[in-house]
């Protein structure tokens, strides 16, 4: 495959439906700081990967990262790494499917509706929190009671909640309930949602339909088919997203008008145009976490420790194509925050009252784009969805088939047999993903959830890849202990943070710091134990350690 096809495939695989929903949603809340995930988290890392890591993988002629770890260290490291990545891929798919279904429901107006009538912004926010339905329902806020009849006729809401100050002597109709501010609590919210008319379309229906459609599509296409489909999807997705950017700014009245609208929102948006935020920021993105956790650990782990990404370059025509594809991506990734992050901020300028940030992008495109152009965005969104899901399924199935099934179950399996097994594994991964998708609603931002999952496993994996490639003294025993203890340590930090009386980290989603500290611990363990164990034979290391031929 040529460099430009691999490059475009990498971009469209990276910009998943999760990103179209999650990054714009996080940008709605926190601003341009999300641009760091591409400008720091991709561009420099792609360049390091192009000249250092990718050529090493390519020359070793492996098909998976666990296979490389097996060659560099031992088969135990390979197996554990394969199982970890297989599981992470299935969970990541769950988040992707959830994000996709969320966007799908919103764009097609499938979510059940709850109407809240109140003049008070605080009361409206309390109602959304108490009902715990911000992710699954669309909330329509009215200040004026007289508009209820019209909204009921147009939107067919499942529930109408009216603040007592607005009720007066009006007669309550079916599914209309009055409330006072004092009675708003979780119990009241639950009882109200219990009384609501059951939704005709559940988020899970969308998740299952998406899974079946994409599962079938993926089952009949190999890596090559995936890459060439991605090229077209990349063009559609980038042009669709950039169109939203330009059209959105045009609708705001131009760049200066857009900036002044954001500035007029006061303290909640005062840092929305700051790339670097203070250590004590209320967001999950302090500069220290961004630089250490993202720039030095998670970004590197993602771009050259993640099978999803590296698998593309392993299929390159030549080492030159593999390297050039990463440099090409470093250019394309400069554009991504303009296509994904800035539209999230435009959504804030357009409507500062969206109850669920993950709905920001969908709300924006639905409100500002004419119907014809909305279909272009929908095509762009489906392109991103298909690419990210088929890539994850493809790489997950490759790992399970080659690093687990062929190694432990049937070492002499024919390619035809492995193809059949790969299809069964694809189906099983989709089933796990569907199961996990229903729990994704618990996180405030989908993007934070996906990063949290990755931060548990990526840092220890990165530590053993980097040291294995750059330090010939690193040994198999050290890598194995480091991998296991790094994952346990990261999980422990997450658990302690959410269970201690006072959270360990003073940041809302500490995945960046967890990634950094588990990486540091993993590096220390590899170094200390390697020095205590006999070195690997030199013949084994040739071609697997940087500049050691």
């Amino acid at each position: 495959m040529p460099w430009w096809a691999i490059g475009m495939s990498l971009v469209v695989t990276d910009i998943r439906a999760v990103d179209m929903v999650g990054i714009a949603g996080a940008a709605y809340l926190y601003g341009i700081v999300l641009g760091n995930y591409d400008w720091l988290g991709s561009v420099p890392v792609m360049i390091i990967g192009a000249f250092l890591f990718i050529p090493m993988f390519w020359r070793s002629k492996v098909s998976t990262i666990p296979e490389w770890l097996g060659a560099r260290y031992n088969q135990s490291v390979r197996t554990i790494s394969a199982v970890i990545w297989g599981v992470v891929t299935a969970f990541g798919l769950g988040v992707t499917l959830y994000a996709t279904a969320l966007m799908f429901n919103l764009l097609l107006d499938l979510n059940p509706k709850v109407v809240v009538v109140s003049e008070s912004q605080i009361v409206r926010e309390k109602v959304v929190a108490a009902t715990d339905a911000g992710k699954t329902h669309d909330f329509i806020f009215l200040k004026d009671y007289d508009l209820i009849q019209q909204v009921v006729e147009d939107k067919d809401p499942n529930l109408v909640l009216i603040h007592t100050e607005k009720v007066g002597n009006t007669e309550m109709e079916n599914l209309m309930y009055s409330f006072s501010e004092n009675e708003i609590n979780a119990e009241w919210g639950k009882s109200m949602m219990d009384r609501a008319r059951a939704p005709t379309w559940s988020l899970m229906y969308s998740i299952i339909i998406m899974s079946v459609l994409i599962g079938v599509y993926t089952l009949f296409g190999g890596l090559k088919a995936v890459v060439y489909t991605d090229v077209l999807q990349c063009i559609v997705m980038l042009s669709g997203s950039l169109f939203v950017l330009f059209f959105g700014i045009y609708k705001m009245g131009g760049v200066s008008e857009f900036i002044s609208i954001i500035q007029s929102l006061g303290p909640r948006a005062q840092d929305h145009f700051e790339l670097i935020l203070s250590v004590d920021t209320a967001t999950p993105h302090p500069w220290s976490g961004i630089f250490l956790g993202l720039g030095l650990v998670l970004a590197n782990a993602y771009w050259f420790g993640n099978q999803n990404m590296v698998q593309r370059t392993l299929g390159a025509k030549s080492e030159a194509d593999a390297k050039a594809s990463y440099i090409f991506v470093s250019f394309l990734k400069i554009l991504i925050p303009f296509a994904m992050v800035i539209p999230g901020i435009i959504a804030l300028a357009h409507n500062p009252n969206i109850t669920d940030a993950d709905k920001a992008m969908a709300t924006l495109v639905k409100d500002i784009l004419p119907t014809g152009l909305l279909s272009i965005f929908f095509a762009a969104f489906l392109a991103g969805l298909m690419s990210s899901v088929d890539s994850a399924l493809n790489s997950g199935a490759t790992i399970w088939t080659k690093d687990v099934y062929r190694k432990f179950v049937k070492p002499d399996a024919s390619p035809e047999h492995l193809l059949v097994v790969g299809r069964w594994i694809t189906g099983a991964m989709l089933a796990i993903a569907i199961f996990f998708a229903q729990y994704a609603t618990r996180f405030e931002s989908i993007y934070d959830l996906s990063q949290t999952i990755l931060s548990l496993f990526q840092s220890p994996s990165l530590a053993i890849i980097v040291l294995g490639m750059l330090w010939k003294r690193a040994t198999g025993k050290a890598a194995l202990i480091s991998l296991i203890s790094g994952v346990i340590f990261a999980g422990t930090l997450m658990w302690v943070n959410s269970n201690a009386s006072v959270p360990l980290f003073q940041v809302s989603e500490p995945f960046l710091y967890v990634a950094w500290w588990s990486f540091v611990l993993s590096v220390v363990i590899v170094v200390v134990i390697s020095l205590m164990t006999p070195p690997e034979p030199e013949s084994k290391l040739k071609g697997l350690v940087y500049r050691y031929e």
Binding site: P44, I47, F51, L275, W287
Partner: protein, 91 residues
């Protein structure tokens, strides 16, 4: 059930307390760094990468694609990083 939750909190608190002192000290150091210096850290990182790319041997940055065409990757990598430096200077 309540007992289990209480013991989980007690265990979590004990582990958290082991790290908290060290964490607070490091957080204090980080907080003392002015934002302009923090931005400088990012820029220096990009500049160091540029220096590394300039120093890479020619055979690692100039390669032949299939079909015989030669590709020089160094100028593209340097340009990409230069754009990023400008972005970090602007925002």
């Amino acid at each position: 059930m309540n007992n289990i939750l209480l013991s989980a909190t007690a265990i979590a608190d004990t582990i958290a307390n082991l790290f908290r002192g060290m964490g607070d000290v490091m957080r204090g150091w980080m907080l003392a760094i002015p934002m302009s210096v923090a931005k400088g850290v990012f820029i220096v990182y990009f500049l160091l990468l540029k220096y590394w790319i300039i120093k890479l041997p020619e055979n690692e940055v100039t390669l032949s694609l299939e079909g015989g065409k030669t590709i020089h990757l160094r100028p593209y990598a340097l340009t990409s990083l230069a754009i990023i430096i400008v972005i970090y200077l602007v925002f």
